[in-house]
Point group: C2
Chain length 623, copies 2
């Protein structure tokens, strides 16, 4: 029997020898590979954290001790060691196991995290509660080097260093965030990592200084060269020590005995916060993933022997965006593209290759990205920040202040708007219309398909008129209907009669079209309207498109409250029209495929057709 099969909870690890734990690590990698090859999931980061997670559960006692994983998608090994092995076949599937930590799944999941850089704040909270309650549990945060560049991680480090509460921070340094790591901090960590002479230099310099009886003598000159090397090698992790946090490391994150030793040392220490710098390798133990960890960051099903098969993947809307922006940048040298560690995901690889000087990847730093965009605009440039809807939430104040108050000519290219599928609750982009529509000066576009996205982007890049958001969903770059009309005017895409009018925002226009066609097949003669521009709301043009229709339906994949549909309801005359809004209700939405979620929420073409039919029948019965 595998050791793995005997692990029902972390307590079952305690009796295993280091030799057994090493075997367990092999078993876990084997399990992850087999299981994820069937279900897909976050492979690279979890392969990289096998030994570290084992060591954590060997040394600490969860759930009394609180182990907090920054961005919960690195928690698969933790899930395995906390009794959830049999749920792996349902990973990230509707009603199955989450791809992130979830408090409702296990008492071992102390804190949930979907976005980066929250674990240090969370750990300090548990540590302060411990002090106040007078208990003795340990609190451990596991944070990646990429996550450490997020501003709120620094806010927490600053507080932790000052506060002196004992928190054990594991810096899981895998030399990259989701794509390539950027920033001065990254270079700094790199210097620690790559200095072969580091231990030697440190020890020897300390020895020399220890021989000096007091500090005396004359001023020295011309020390620049020496100073340069000393300051980088003298005390590793001094950046952390400067903030008041004891630094231990670097430690080989795949050397179980070394990890156990370091964690034990941190556990026994009693002098404030500690950071252990652990070096891991993403994809460790699976050669294709080690060679290309990005490709295996989040994967679909793959072959263990062949790795991810390179299907000729369908072009995504992200790529449509990236390609079009690259083309437009050839015509206007003021166009600049920005991303926050999501170059690939937002389709900007081509732009980066073609215009490297006009491409900025700022790391996991959405706040900085937005304000940087605002000042680029103030300096006469045309910045386009491509960002997932869910991550834009991180920069709400910056959008409001630095972009909207200054009426800065910044374009927010909001990718992954609407439901995103298997990443679930923390990643759905279902709030952006609610938080952007109230902002003065903001213009919002929602194109329905690839040609419309291209036309809208061209239109935006030619205007010079303040903040713009263009939102589009995760998905394939289809052409639903030929592009006609103007990007900033609503389009009456179908018009067969006055039985009903369906106004479907771009993201779910396809569902609207399907619903329309189903209703048409049932004999209902209606109108299908593509609003295109959501703010300012083109009330007159929409009213004209609606014509004499009085049964109005709206469809969107934003939450109902503060969303698009309500704006239509409020804009139309209630004495003349009856408006029904189809939107995401007032609760968080779990993981599952986008189609499954649309179906469940009543937003699929089929469900929308049924709901409209039902409404029209009821209405006719009344009249």
């Amino acid at each position: 029997m595998r050791h793995l099969d005997s692990i029902k909870s972390p307590a079952d690890l305690k009796g295993l020898s280091e030799a057994d734990l090493k075997i367990l690590a092999i078993e876990i990698r084997q399990f992850l590979l087999e299981s994820l090859s069937r279900t897909g999931g976050h492979l690279s980061s979890n392969l990289g954290i096998v030994e570290l997670t084992i060591a954590l559960h060997k040394i600490f006692d969860s759930p009394e001790d609180k182990i907090i994983f920054d961005v919960g998608h690195q928690g698969y090994v933790h899930k395995l060691l906390t009794g959830r092995m049999d749920q792996f076949p349902t990973l990230r599937q509707l009603d199955g196991m989450s791809g992130f930590l979830k408090r409702s799944e296990s008492e071992h999941d102390a804190f949930e995290a979907g976005h980066s850089s929250t674990s240090l704040s969370a750990a300090l909270g548990f540590a302060k509660a411990r002090s106040l309650k007078g208990t003795k549990e340990h609190v451990i945060a596991v944070i990646g080097d990429g996550a450490l560049t997020g501003g709120m991680a620094f806010e927490a480090l600053n507080h932790i260093g000052h506060d002196r509460e004992k928190v054990i921070i594991i810096l899981n340094d895998n030399e990259m965030s989701i794509s390539e790591n950027v920033g001065g901090l990254s270079k700094y960590l790199d210097r620690i990592r790559t200095s072969n002479n580091y231990y030697k230099l440190k020890g020897e310099t300390e020895f020399i200084l220890s021989k000096v009886p007091g500090v005396g003598g004359a001023m020295a000159r011309g020390l620049k060269r020496l100073k340069g090397s000393i300051k980088y090698f003298f005390v590793p992790g001094m950046l952390f020590e400067d903030l008041g946090i004891t630094y231990i490391g670097p430690v080989d994150g795949h050397d179980l005995p070394a990890l156990i030793h370091s964690l034990d040392r941190a556990k026994e220490a009693n002098d404030g916060p500690i950071l252990i710098h652990v070096l891991t390798r993403k994809g460790k133990g699976f050669m294709p993933a080690e060679l290309d960890p990005d490709k295996y960051h989040g994967v679909g099903k793959f072959s263990l022997s062949k790795g991810v098969t390179e299907l000729p993947a369908a072009k995504t809307l992200s790529q449509t965006f990236g390609d079009k922006l690259t083309a437009l940048a050839g015509e206007d040298e003021r166009i600049i593209a920005l991303t926050a560690a999501m170059c690939d995901g937002t389709g900007l690889e081509g732009f980066r290759a073609r215009y490297p000087k006009r491409f900025f990847d700022v790391g996991i730093a959405e706040q900085h990205a937005v304000t940087l965009s605002a000042s680029l605009a103030c300096a006469g440039m045309k910045p386009v920040f491509a960002v997932y809807s869910t991550f834009l939430q991180r920069a709400y104040d910056q959008v409001l202040h630095d972009v909207c108050i200054q009426n800065a000519n910044v374009t927010l290219a909001i990718d992954r708007a609407g439901l995103v599928g298997q990443d679930g609750e923390t990643h759905h982009g279902m709030f952006d219309l609610s938080f952007l529509q109230p902002l003065p000066n903001m213009t919002i576009y929602s194109p329905k398909d690839a040609p419309e996205l291209e036309a809208t982007l061209s239109h935006i890049m030619r205007r010079e008129a303040g903040p713009v958001a263009i939102r589009y969903p995760r998905g394939v770059a289809v052409t639903l209907l030929p592009f006609e009309g103007a990007p900033d005017a609503p389009q009456l895409e179908r018009c067969e009669g006055d039985d009903f009018a369906l106004i479907a925002v771009g993201n779910v226009f396809a569902n609207g079209l399907e619903a329309y066609e189903r209703l048409s097949a049932l004999g209902f003669r209606g109108r299908l309207i593509n609003p295109r521009i959501l703010k300012p709301l083109p009330v007159d043009a929409l009213t004209e498109a609606i014509g004499d229709t009085t049964a109005i339906f709206t469809l969107e994949d934003n939450v109902l409250t503060g969303g698009f549909g309500e704006r239509i309801t409020l804009a139309l005359d209630p004495q003349r029209c009856n408006v029904v809004n189809f939107a995401v209700p007032d609760h968080f939405v779990e993981h599952g495929t986008i189609q499954q979620l649309h179906e469940r929420l009543g937003l699929s073409g089929k469900r929308v057709a049924q709901r409209i039919q039902q409404s029209l029948v009821t209405r006719n019965m009344k009249s």
Copy 2:
């Protein structure tokens, strides 16, 4: 004639000698004191930055060179030196000069800032635009030590250090943020500042090392003590150097020749980003402000001879909140109070004094504060984060993710909700209902006066049911009407008939009451409803309170879009009721007194009465 009178633009500084500039500094302080004693304004920070601002405009050439002030309220001297002296009598008054930098006021105001920590991102944007355009201007950011603790400042430092674009960062270290500074970074800067032996130690240690031919010898032991002192004194500003930013300093911020020398050195340097660490003293030159700079951070009118006169100030709602929370904390030891550098402003001084272990000031770090609160709640505590509405915008994602998704028992005590008056556009809290109402699991209260705030807070602290926001305005702790009923049920405060129903949210309930009484005096017999709980919307109770009334009006000081009034419009049957919303329209609101702004926006008691009367008359004419 004063030198000051001859300064119409920064160009007029260039010809002045250092001796003349020193006289100018005295004149500026005298001018600021006299002018602000009459108008009020931000005194301490501007007195502290006189020499620095003079030196900046002496060495650099604005507006070609871009000088960006973090949090624009430290820009008064800059305003004086850029031709705005004659506007000082209108400072912060309706239609007068802004208390912050404004691009529409002057070409010398390169970037606007109301919230902290944005200047480094802004500076990098101007620097990147410079490179792309091939121009040669200098870009300078002036940032305080407090602002440097905000996470986005670190995001920008990280990018700047990596990018190597030349940006000159002036760290204006006045040893305190708005109230007391906290954090490891602050302690670190303090070590640089207070090390008398610093230069000596640095030089001597360097000398010793320079005498070592190579690095050789055996490992040393027992070096902890020595290491401790070396690592703190060896290279000042190494934290910045570690990130890739050249450190110069510390420089005495009131020594004009030293400042000019340092700025000139930075101007001539050509090796990437530079940080000049300038030590200033808030309130410099005015003894009362030097002794108590907090009191003179933002002041009303004061006497030059006597300083701020201690009027027996009326108790504020912030103090009502703070006193009540302190009392409740005596009954429940799980209650914890948090602030982000706004202890005084949020009324928590008493709590801090009484329960120091349960009080956390995290510095200017709202994101961290919210996630810290979420984890404290997950650990069984009852955290209450007291925060101004405008600053809560900084933590939108953390409220959504860490609090709402986890349904954490966190209370957001939202102070300064609604219009705040003279701080203007960047500080009005007019978006919180729009951004909070769409969040699942959120409960929102809006008490109308001090007794209701107390009752609501008691109610909240006794429940154990997920996220709660309680919002209240800047202002005096009045009792408008005796508290009756329950904190979580709408209250029909007045009921004389069915001519109209006015539903006024707590913040502007006083205006609603005035409007009601004016209408009553005119013979209109209506109803005045205090909703108390805004989410979940108590539709049944509100419908009951409205009774047979069909002319419904809502009043709030949030923006219309996504605000409270629209929720009422959408909730009530449009076939039965006509609802008119009075709210802030879709544009940013300038500075002025709250009363002036309410009047201008049609939200004052008088204007609301007029608008309702007009509506009722029109309605009667129609029917």
